[in-house]
Amino acid sequence: MDPSQFQSDKMTFSVLTSSAPVMAPRLGKLALAGRKTLSTPHYIPLTSRGTVPHIAHDMLRKETSLNSLYIGLEDFITKRNPSPVYNIPVTEDESPLRKFICATDDMPIILAPRRFPAIPCPPNNTDTSIAILTSVGFRQLPAHQYLDSIRSLKPDIAIGLADIVYGREPGVKRRAKMVDRTHAFTQDALERLYGRSVPADQKQKPTGTAYFAPVLPLDNAQQSIYLDDLQDELKSHVSGLALYESASLAQIPESLGDLPRLLLSQPGGPHDLLRDVSLGGDLLTLPFVGECSDAGIALDFTFPAASDVNGSVSQPKALGIDLWSADTAKDVSALSEGCQCYACRKHHRAYFNHLLNAKEMAAWALLQMHNYHVMDVFFAGVRDSIQRGTFEEDVQSFSRMYVSELPQRTGEGPRLRGYQLQAGPHKRGPRVYGRLDDVSQKFAESQSSVATPDTDASGLEHHGFAAKV
């Protein structure tokens, strides 16, 4: 099959490799008018309240290559009505959302109703709305309000509303409802955003936003009515597909093969990513990157894996370095050898170990820059490998070279806010107040026995702080 091209008013997606439309790795270019072009497969950086966590805007512009932003509308919903994001004064063509979060003009912005990963909400979705978690509590986001937001906030890409059940497996009846509701949401959205049947006086200005229709994390058979409709009636207005599990990659109908596929899943690490790419994923989300940065773990892998000098692989390498480890306390080497990221150019492992121990925010900022850089290089390697036609072999040698799991989290991360907390049992971190209680007790004891307690010379000298009297 020849390389395909999908084109809408504002977006062009060209598949550069001639291969089967689904279930195979593919190279693509996603071009949005006036924005940076994305070479796929690539990842979409996740944001929180309009920022890539820990990376200040100036550092993001100067020292990272992040070239798109995934934004959850729920981060912008406040008690006020309308929320501030809708009030910012803009010119005709400006996106209020872009302006509100102070993103550069060329940054592709992808709007979704919810953050990713989304936190399960106790309220249920309804036929006309979905439950969301804002920083001021749970709310319902009505479908029409989301459409209004797409129209007014003018993101480059909008991910359609879907009835997704988070945190548990939906039952049979619920699954049927998911399909019905999502089908209805999509039909309604496309009609209202792009439709012709809307009477002229009610019709809003045509939107410049590319609409990515959701594909539910269900079997093909269960959502066949919806997928059929996507292929026929709705296809003309759909610019891409948003998938919620990698299994969905295998279910995409051939006639939708020219659409870009954004996979909203939670890969456990690079091995999962390679699988998703090999199934034809174009745009991927990587929650593990931020989790590693928070945990003090620097990613350390390349694709294709650098071939071992000795020829044979003795022991699989770790995928990252835990900088909480005391082994790094005096280690003045870069996070990854030869890494060109800001953090590696400027700092060494010993500094990270110190920053983590001192609970300094800079640790997370610098690690985040490093970890995203590792992913930039990784995806560039993936694209080269597909281009060369060696992807399959490269994946095999990668899985031989590296262990399967990312390092275990050992240290504490930043304090988490309610809207950042994941489902299930979680800890906000140990109690920090009252930690001197123990000390004062010891002091009282020592004072009662000896007037001025003598220093334990050996231990404290080692500490280098105070010692021998």
Binding site: S48, R49, G50, T51, P53, H54, I55, A56, H57, D58, M59, K62, E63, F76, R80, P84, N87, I88, P89, F100, I101, C102, T104, A329, K330, V332, Y342, K346, H347, A350, N353, H354, L355, N357, A358, E360, M361, A362, A365, R417, R435, L436, V439, S440, K442, F443, S446, T452, D454, T455, D456, G459, L460, H462, H463, G464, F465, A466, A467, V469
Partner: protein
């Protein structure tokens, strides 16, 4: 106790070039050449307590124009500790900062962080806040640690007590002990050619004690001189008297550092009293609480009144955050800062950038005013901006202190 107890001549790793002196007040504009670059004086020094300025990268700090920042010996001594500092090759290398560093001696933290510290002639006895083990910090330890840190300016260990202490005998003892400890510090200092040891004038709010201390310490000829023991909650009138008295006795050719100060108003007045260097955690700490320093005072961006305010944090501010995008800035709005402040670490980073830049710009403007011999007019404008021109609201301590150096703040 006398000056002829002096043990060795002090080499100096700094030079101070005077550019101008205010013809009315005692304000001075100069340039301080240190091993890691030149610092324009008067200057505010942001505090990177634990070898990191609260989430900023050192390029962000550099962008604010900062040439000299602080580390705390107390904190670096506990984490990462001397062994690591030696292995890494000092604090510059630890944190990747190639401009100047100043470290305090750890004495102040001992007193302010640990209510459980006791001071003896030997040194400060305290319990490690991390494992509870009893420790003794001597002047020798402090200098040894600061030698390992490798900071460009190091401070003597002093006997710090609250200025508000009613115990006059204890204040006198602390002053005299600080002089004795200075001798021990000078003696223990291994790198006088590359690190500048500053003495710290003590003596509480007693001007007689301060005078005695100045005489003793000036005789010891350290490269620079600090006025310590302030910023402990004393009345501002008293604070100004102490600074004024000390600067009157200090040699012209040495930098004068008022420790732990502070608020823009305090600094602007203290500059008029002849001080050159200031440090305080307030601008960076308050940033993390959502407060932005602006010419009209401070504003708390968490306040809901800013939720729909789409103007920059301060109109005309040249910091990376406030500068419009067409001038290479980020063009951030109050509304967006309201959206992220106290919710995302990035909010703290950005406000810290703004506040540090504000303080450094304020100092730069003060310096320029001194050079152009219009510092009194600068001070009047500064107070007028804060109090919207309402002279009845001007703080009496500032009016009094400035009158003492020949300037009427209330004049038009």
């Amino acid at each position: 106790m006398s000056a002829d107890a002096q043990l060795k001549a002090m080499p100096s790793a700094l030079t101070l070039h005077h550019h101008a002196k205010c013809s009315t007040t005692k304000a001075r504009a100069s340039t301080l050449d240190l091993p890691h670059g030149s610092v324009p004086l008067p200057i505010f020094m942001p505090v990177a307590t634990q070898a990191s300025l609260k989430g900023l990268t050192y390029d962000q700090l550099r962008d604010t124009g900062c040439m000299l920042c602080l580390n705390n010996t107390y904190h670096l001594g506990l984490k990462p500790g001397q062994e690591v500092l030696d292995a890494v090759g000092g604090a510059h290398k630890l944190q990747g900062w190639d401009r100047n560093l100043l470290t305090d001696s750890g004495g102040f933290q001992m007193v302010s962080l640990l209510k459980l510290a006791t001071v003896t002639e030997e040194g400060v006895r305290f319990l490690s806040p991390h494992d509870g083990s009893p420790m003794l910090l001597t002047p020798e330890h402090s200098i040894s640690l600061q030698n390992s840190i490798g900071s460009d300016i190091i401070m003597q260990l002093d006997d710090v007590i609250a200025t508000t202490s009613p115990d006059h005998a204890r204040i006198k003892e602390a002053m005299e002990r600080s002089v004795r400890w200075l001798d021990r510090c000078i003696d223990a200092h291994k790198n006088p050619e590359t690190q500048n040891l500053f003495c710290i004038i003590q003596g509480g709010l007693d001007l007689e004690l301060r005078k005695q201390c100045c005489a003793e310490m000036v005789a010891r000829d350290t490269p620079g001189i600090a006025i310590g023991g302030l910023s402990g909650g004393e009345a501002k009138e008293e604070f100004c008297k102490v600074v004024d008295t000390c600067t009157g006795l200090l040699p012209e050719h040495k930098p004068r550092y008022v420790m732990g100060v502070g608020y823009p108003e305090d600094i602007v007045v203290a500059v008029a009293l002849g001080a050159d260097m200031f440090d305080c955690v307030w601008p960076t700490r308050t940033a993390r609480f959502g407060n932005a320093i602006v010419s009209a005072g401070t504003i708390n961006l968490r306040n809901s009144s800013y939720a729909n305010d789409f103007s920059p944090i301060e109109e005309g501010c040249t910091c990376t955050c406030c500068r419009p995008t067409d001038q290479g800035g980020l063009g951030l709005t109050k509304a967006y800062m309201h959206h992220v402040t106290a919710k995302e670490t990035v909010g703290a980073h950005l406000l810290t950038v703004h506040n540090v830049h504000y303080m450094l710009t304020l100092m730069g403007a003060a310096r320029q005013a001194i050079i152009e011999d219009r510092y009194p007019a600068f001070i009047r404008k500064f107070f007028s901006d804060i109090y919207q021109g309402d002279k009845t609201k001007y703080p009496e301590w500032a009016v009094g202190a400035l009158r003492g150096v020949g300037m009427d703040l209330l004049e038009d």
